[in-house]
């Protein structure tokens, strides 16, 4: 069983976020593997293990030369990584991103594509389904459990009211929620092994997508960025055993009690 995991390298979410002069998210600092993607990597490793063999290929795109996040996925145990890295990809929208990923994924055989439900920086949340459509695959989003039996995929999918058991035929695409599995930490051995694993860097030209993706392919534009009306902080007390009373008094003041 061969699984492709789509991952994104993002600015550290713990650091303050900002826009650059072109209103793109500032990615000038160190990039890390989006934590949301570690679940897909772990899920892929477990499914390949259960199937008795196969490859886990990590696929990504970005505008910079950073590959530390991909090395991290390789250190967890992925077989190889491919990144489309090109300055012209800056300002790509979700559909352009899906087109780039589709062009990479079409180059090799696969049974299953995994992705996070959304990235932790842009959180558009449509790229995986756009990718499935471009590749002509069924998709099941918001998976909280995934299993494969022969060529049948079985997924517990979150719903507004609970969850559905959904099945589909492989090859297919699944988006996994955080918490679906417990991602492993890269071991020292894994980190050393990752250094000799294949990490292929492609350009937009290599994929024949010049002028179709990146800012050139985006058909939406930011017209303005404004500070939102901010909420004022109210009163803050250190609990001296009277915290509960203060809450009750507040609830009375707004007539909830």
């Amino acid at each position: 069983m061969n699984i492709v995991v789509c991952v994104k390298q993002i600015p550290d979410p713990a650091a303050p976020q900002s826009f650059d002069a072109s209103n793109n998210l500032n990615r000038s600092g160190k990039l890390i593997l989006d934590e949301a993607d570690t679940y897909g990597v772990e899920m892929a490793l477990q499914l390949v293990d259960k199937a008795g063999g196969g490859e886990v290929t990590v696929v990504s795109m970005g505008s910079g030369a950073d590959v530390a996040g991909l090395r991290n996925a390789l250190a967890m145990g992925a077989t190889k990584a491919v990144i489309v890295s090109d300055e012209s990809l800056r300002g790509s929208d979700a559909l352009s991103t899906a087109k780039v990923l589709a062009a990479v994924i079409r180059r090799g055989p696969f049974d299953l594509i995994l992705a996070a439900t959304e990235s932790s920086d842009g959180y558009t949340g449509t790229t995986p389904v756009q990718l499935a459509e471009l590749l002509g695959l069924p998709s099941i989003t918001f998976a909280k459990a995934v299993s494969v039996e022969g060529s049948t995929l079985k997924v517990s999918r979150q719903t507004e009211a609970g969850y559905d058991e959904v099945s589909a035929t492989l090859p297919a695409l699944v988006t996994v929620t955080a918490g679906v599995v417990e991602p492993r930490y890269a071991s020292f051995k894994g980190i050393m092994a990752a250094k000799s694993k294949s990490l292929e860097v492609l350009s937009v030209g290599d994929l024949g997508l010049d002028g179709q993706v990146g800012a050139a392919g985006a058909r939406e534009t930011i017209t303005a960025v404004q500070a939102s009306e901010s909420r004022q902080a109210g009163e803050k007390y250190v609990d001296e055993g009277d915290g509960a009373e203060k809450v009750v008094a507040f609830l009375e003041s707004i007539k909830v009690l």
Binding site: S167, A233, A244
Partner: protein, 320 residues
């Protein structure tokens, strides 16, 4: 009005269209005189409701035979565009199925999609409003290509107000050939039972986060919610940790709530969470970290241990 036609994807539940669907219809009719709705499943039985909120036509994809809606509904919308011409934009609710439809449709039509939209106005074309960085900034955007633009709208972005319109005319909309994409099928549905008001409708929401320490402490949140006749919510952290079901999640990926009062217990106030609750009328925060970001938006902040404050609060509420 410069927008000639808007289409709105309206999601059916057992007894009504979803509240986000009605909110979008209400707003769409202020932007265009020609609003049509698109639905599936039992949605056509709500033609009167769709009309009341502003839809003149209700395109019905009908029974999906258990298929996940994303593929067949997007295909049917594509066929409708070929038959009826493209609207200026298609509004789609931020929901599990809504996002599937939006992604499929965007790739099928080769048209862009704007998500996390919390406002929409007409300035010689649609301008969308997106809260970013936990709602501290608002980004305004517009499409630069020919329509239809695909707009994915967050819950509670607009008020749902009936306009007394006549029932919408139901017109069939049929998916085209779906091929391999159509194989995703629902085998069984599980409903996680909950008591009390729905999270998104409750006047009082009491939520817990990682500061609770462990899953069993969530019982305190449920008890306080019950005593206040409210609903119990949760941060993404404890939902991901498996302490409570996903249906309790408030935030970017979960539900958007705007109750009269939101009580955040052991929640630090991550960007992801704040987006889903900062529209609450009043916010109370209880957290042991005095620097937790949640205190910056709280009307009442208690710096304290939830393991002490919450039991005392339960006693005080019971004593009333």
């Amino acid at each position: 009005m410069t927008l000639s036609t808007l289409w709105v994807l309206v999601e059916p539940t057992e007894d009504s269209l979803t509240s986000t669907s009605l909110e979008m219809l209400s707003h769409a009719r202020t932007l265009s005189d020609n609003v049509a709705a698109i639905t599936w499943g039992n949605g056509a039985s709500f033609a009167a409701q769709a009309g009341d909120y502003g839809a003149k036509t209700l395109y019905d994809v009908g029974d999906l035979s258990g298929a996940l809606p994303g593929v067949p509904v997007a295909s049917a919308i594509q066929a409708l565009i070929e038959r009826e011409g493209a609207p200026d934009a298609i509004l789609i609710p931020t929901s599990y199925d809504g996002r599937d439809v939006a992604g499929r449709l965007s790739a099928r039509l080769d048209r862009p999609v704007l998500t996390n939209v919390a406002g929409l106005r007409d300035e010689s074309g649609l301008v969308t409003e997106h809260p970013v960085f936990g709602g501290s900034l608002t980004v305004y955007a517009k499409f630069t290509s020919d329509g239809p633009g695909i707009v994915v709208v967050r819950a509670k972005s607009f008020a749902a107000e009936p306009a007394g319109g006549v029932p919408a005319t139901v017109v069939a909309a049929t998916p085209g050939e779906l091929g391999a994409t159509a194989s995703a099928t629902i085998v069984t549905s599980h409903v996680e039972e909950r008591t009390g008001p729905k999270l998104e409708d409750a006047t009082v929401v009491v939520s817990g986060g990682r500061g609770l320490g462990d899953a069993s402490t969530y019982a305190l949140i449920e008890e306080i919610a019950k005593l206040l006749h409210g609903a119990a919510g949760a941060s993404r952290a404890i939902v991901d940790a498996g302490w409570v079901p996903y249906s309790h999640q408030v935030g970017q990926t979960g539900k958007t709530v705007k109750p009269l009062v939101y009580v955040a217990c052991g929640i630090s106030g991550a960007t992801q969470h704040m987006v889903g609750m900062k529209g609450s009328k009043n916010i109370v925060a209880i957290n042991k970290d005095p620097d937790a970001p949640i205190f910056q938006i709280a009307d009442l902040g208690i710096v304290g241990d939830v393991h002490k404050v919450l039991p005392a609060l339960i006693d005080a509420l019971k004593a009333r």
